[in-house]
């Protein structure tokens, strides 16, 4: 295993009394698409901005490709960022925007032009090189911002909520687009997002942040199936948190539970009454009140087009799950 591209050691940042980032340690491997996921104010954006050099850490340090970045201003760092607002220069054409970073490096004119065209082709915008940002659609602007950040071939590409400003339909297509580019170019992407679907579907690894700390790092699969704490279990997707022996808990995902009218032949089985059903198209979520007064969420896949066989509100039913369906939690 080679040296990680990013090594963050004891990084901390506070704004007055507010601790934005609280002694974070993190390593990001070369060629990863790494997502920082968390709610608003969890410190993910501050962490990203410290990687870019826009915020000065109060403590700790960042190493990029083995080099200590402490005291290195943004313009000398081997990283580029795609801004949430895209931050396209309104007084320059698309081509001038993309070429801006190369001109700062003093790359020769012909070389700059060639690489701008190449970058625009990569994001399929070659036809729009002479346009101004104000003449582009939201999706096109997003791709210009991406091309502008990619063209310098940074060691690290930072993406601040890269899809947040797009409409839902466009967002889904762009996810695949970003992953494709990242794999084709073999770059390391670090992405900040508040959208767990985005993080789960795109990232090769992700970090879940809460109150300035990283609470779990792992692949999307690990984070979903083996959450490190009740917070993570609850934050990512839906989880039923059941008390277990010795003050521990069990996180049980709604889709791991089977509903049936008769007592199922599973390791665990409890009876309950359906108090609410949320139909979501592909699946339905049932809120089931158990005899002990607690409530559990159960998901069923809507395989058939007819409502036959689905459950009704008020119905008394059985919940069953396998012995290994839940994930034990210490905290």
């Amino acid at each position: 295993m080679s040296e990680p591209i990013v090594r963050i050691e004891g990084l901390a940042k506070r704004y007055g009394p507010v601790v934005a980032v609280d002694e974070v340690d993190l390593e990001i491997e070369r060629g990863e698409l790494f997502a920082l996921l968390g709610g608003s104010g969890c410190g993910k954006t501050t962490l990203l901005r410290m990687l870019a050099g826009f915020e000065t850490p109060d403590a700790g340090r960042v190493l990029i490709d083995g080099q200590d970045m402490t005291g290195v201003p943004p313009h000398l760092r081997p990283v580029n960022m795609m801004f949430q607002s895209y931050a396209l220069f309104p007084h320059m054409t698309v081509a001038d925007n993309v070429g801006y970073g190369l001109r700062r490096e003093g790359v020769a004119r012909a070389e700059t032009d060639r690489r701008v065209v190449e970058a625009l082709e990569q994001v399929r915008l070659a036809d729009l090189a002479r346009r101004r940002p104000s003449q582009l659609s939201g999706g096109q602007r997003q791709r210009v911002a991406l091309a502008r950040a990619l063209v310098k071939r940074p060691k690290l590409l930072l993406l601040d909520e890269p899809l947040a400003a797009l409409d839902r339909k466009l967002r889904e297509g762009t996810r695949f687009e970003l992953v494709r580019l990242q794999e084709e170019l073999g770059l390391t992407f670090v992405m900040v997002t508040h959208d767990q679907d985005e993080a789960m579907s795109m990232a090769s690894r992700m970090a879940v942040m809460d109150a300035g700390r990283i609470v779990q790092v792992g692949s999307p699969h690990e984070v979903y199936e083996r959450p490190a704490s009740r917070f993570v279990a609850d934050f990512i997707g839906i989880a039923n948190i059941l008390p277990a022996a010795e003050g521990r808990w069990l996180a049980l995902r709604p889709e791991k539970i089977v509903l049936s009218t008769a007592r199922p032949d599973t390791a665990h089985a409890v009876a309950g009454q359906i108090i609410d059903i949320a139909y979501e198209g592909g699946r339905s979520l049932h809120r089931v009140a158990l005899d002990d007064g607690s409530v559990m969420m159960v998901a069923t896949a809507n395989i058939a087009r007819t409502p036959d066989g689905s459950f009704r509100r008020g119905e008394t039913i059985w919940l069953g799950w396998a012995a290994d369906a839940g994930h034990p939690l210490d905290t």
Partner: protein
Amino acid sequence: MIGRARFAFTMLGFGYAFLYLPLALVMFYSFNESRMVTVWGGFSTKWWSALFANEAMLRAAWLSLRIAAVSATLAAVIGLAAGYALARARNFPGRSLFGSLVIAPMVMPEVVMGISMLLLFVGSERLFGGPDRGFLTITLAHVTFSISFVAIIVQARLADFDRSLEEAAMDLGATPWVTFRTVTLPLIAPTVGSGWLLAFTLSLDDLILTQFVAGAQSQTLPMRVYSSVRLGVDPQINVLATVVVMVAACALVLSGWLTRRKA
């Protein structure tokens, strides 16, 4: 709601009449044949010819224009720096004093600024033997009170400037200075331009400060106008007023066009 809006629009019409009627009359009477400004004696352009043959007036106008151009340029540069510092440097020793210094000249009664600046020049004359009162002292005085106006509009413009544009430039390898030159300045240039225009107008129009610091040899246009107007209404001044209103209207259209282009 409707009733109140109608009252407001009536007042607006009245306000415009109040603002423009006196100017319109002055412009109208610039074509009066009679020397008596308030008596209509028929159409004539003789006062127009008289004004443009008035050597002293033209000399004063030329001096005023030169002073205005130089002082507006200096004020634009220093005001840009002041506005930038106010908008971007949140904490530095003397920040609140600096804020007061930038804003105060805007509202300070001119007689107070006039006497204080004159005393400064008298003092420096005694200590250093200069500067001689005239072009230089007038320009310095005009720069000093124009800085405020430029600084305020630059600061307001920077307050809604998207900071991420500057961060993007630095992220792409631009030093702070290059960022300013290639991103910030081009985007706020229209604001600086209208600041320059404002400083130019203020300088061209200033009487009181100028009167204090001008010295015996220099006479600017407002000084000339003032000494003529003190003796009563003068048809040549009507002509001058007409020219000034025309030029101001053009300047305003230009400045409006500049600021609207910023998007």
